[in-house]
């Protein structure tokens, strides 16, 4: 797993070095989307051929919904607190 972070750090360095080359950057940005599409196809593929996962999709969806609602609510509550304590005082 650490290799993922190392590869990304190498990418950041390369990106910084080529930051004034607009054509290369646009190419990289387009390649990001293409690789994401390829990987999501792979992801769909591995899930599609696994009847066990396909069968438990409703359950997984419910877990996803619960985690999502929890995360959104938690961050909004803290944002309300920070808004009242910090942002408004600074105006």
């Amino acid at each position: 797993m650490i290799e993922i972070l190392l590869i990304m750090s190498a990418g950041i360095l390369i990106g910084y070095l080529i930051r004034s080359n607009g054509r290369l950057i646009r190419l990289a940005d387009r390649m990001v989307i293409i690789t994401i599409l390829v990987l999501l196809f792979f992801m769909g593929f591995t899930i599609g051929r696994d009847p066990l996962i396909m069968g438990s999709l409703p359950q997984l969806g419910l877990t996803a919904l619960i985690l999502s609602v929890a995360g959104v609510t938690g961050s909004m509550l803290l944002a309300l607190l920070v808004w009242k304590l910090y942002f408004r005082k600074n105006r």
Partner: protein
Amino acid sequence: MKTSLYILIAFVLGLLFGQTALSPGFLINGEPAKYTLYVLMLLVGISIGADHRSLNLIREQGFRLMVLPLVTIVGTFAAIIPVSALLTDVSTGESLAVGAGFGYYSLSGIIITRIHSETLGIIALLANVIREIITLVFAPVMVVWFGKLAPITAAGATSMDTTLPVITAASGREFSVIALAHGIILTIIVPVLVTTILMFFV
């Protein structure tokens, strides 16, 4: 928005293709996907490193800029930890990895699938798509109940692009810069945080 549609099509095509009997064996062992992920991480790094906006923002704003992304991270995790105790199919560490996607569903779903499991990957994909949809639908209500920063933190990493229009409509144009900065920073943090959580807490 067009990209989201392509993402959905690619994923559904994969699903359908996986169910046919003619699926090629070389895709099954996961090796091609592993190397494609390496390429993706390199490319994601390049676009982060080459992005003038992030560097300029950090130079101009410094730590102040980190306040709202930090609120999003801490708020999300503080709520997910107790809630995950009630869930039977995921551990707390796994739930945090899902939450660390902050709406960046494509990348978090992919990383979690590759370095943890397909099951958690699909949960991450769904949970983060849902985070984006909740923000798109409820942004006007969020402002009333939780203040003007609420739609931005709810949006997570998507506050820089897909949800930016509804955020500025709900909170006001003066919040567009804050929303943009928040999204840019979280977009950078997502791959790092997801991988770190899976490394040390799962």
